[in-house]
């Protein structure tokens, strides 16, 4: 097992969470996405519910960023 790779993942999770919390944002979508990467390595076919959930989170995040500033 590649220990450095594991540490890199943990580091990424902490960095993302820290950035989001500092900005007063919920860290949950990003952390969920990182967890999904982890699960995705060995998982079987995705359920319709999993796909719909990912689609909804991403669509909401994109729509929010794309609003006029």
């Amino acid at each position: 097992m590649d220990v450095l790779a594991i540490l890199a993942i943990v580091n990424k999770v902490i960095l993302v969470a820290n950035t989001l919390i500092q900005a007063g944002q919920s860290a949950e979508p990003a952390i969920t996405a990182l967890i999904n990467f982890a699960k995705g390595i060995n998982r079987g076919p995705l359920s319709a519910e999993q796909i719909a959930q990912t689609d909804a989170i991403l669509d909401a995040l994109i729509a929010r960023f794309n609003e006029d500033i």
Partner: protein, 134 residues
């Protein structure tokens, strides 16, 4: 406390991975392998791309919030408008890609997948260039 539990969960989930190098690659959108007829776009590939995009957009929205709150220099509005040139192209492409993957139209799925992967990679490069954490 909930966050600490979540971080510990993420760590615990990542520990037993058989192929950590693959995960590390998946974390970097810019390094996604191009799709091709020999390497078709599967629902899992699409899901990985979307999860990577969620991380990128979570970071972008954090930057946007800091900008709106006035916590960073006002030039951030110009940076956001520059980034929106890329991000506003993504939703229609994403809708097409989801349809193509669902109907297994690989000829079109490959083209659109590669377009989105390139777009997100360009977006990420532009963001990093402007010190936007993604």
């Amino acid at each position: 406390m909930k966050l600490i539990r979540t971080l510990l969960l993420a760590t615990a989930l990542s520990a037993p991975l058989a192929n950590c190098a693959q995960l590390q690659t998946a974390l970097d959108v810019a390094s996604f392998t191009n799709a091709s007829i020999a390497n078709p776009v599967t629902p899992a590939m699409l899901n990985n791309l979307e999860n990577a995009a969620i991380v990128v957009f979570a970071g972008l929205n954090a930057y946007r919030s800091s900008c709106v709150q006035g916590a960073i220099p006002p030039s951030c509005k110009t940076v956001i408008r520059q980034l929106q040139v890329y991000t506003r192209q993504i939703p229609p492409l994403l809708t097409q890609l989801r349809t193509f993957v669902r109907t297994n139209d690989q000829v079109n799925a490959v083209i659109v997948y590669n377009n989105i992967a390139q777009l997100v990679a360009s977006l990420k490069a532009q963001a990093v260039q402007n010190n936007v954490g993604v």
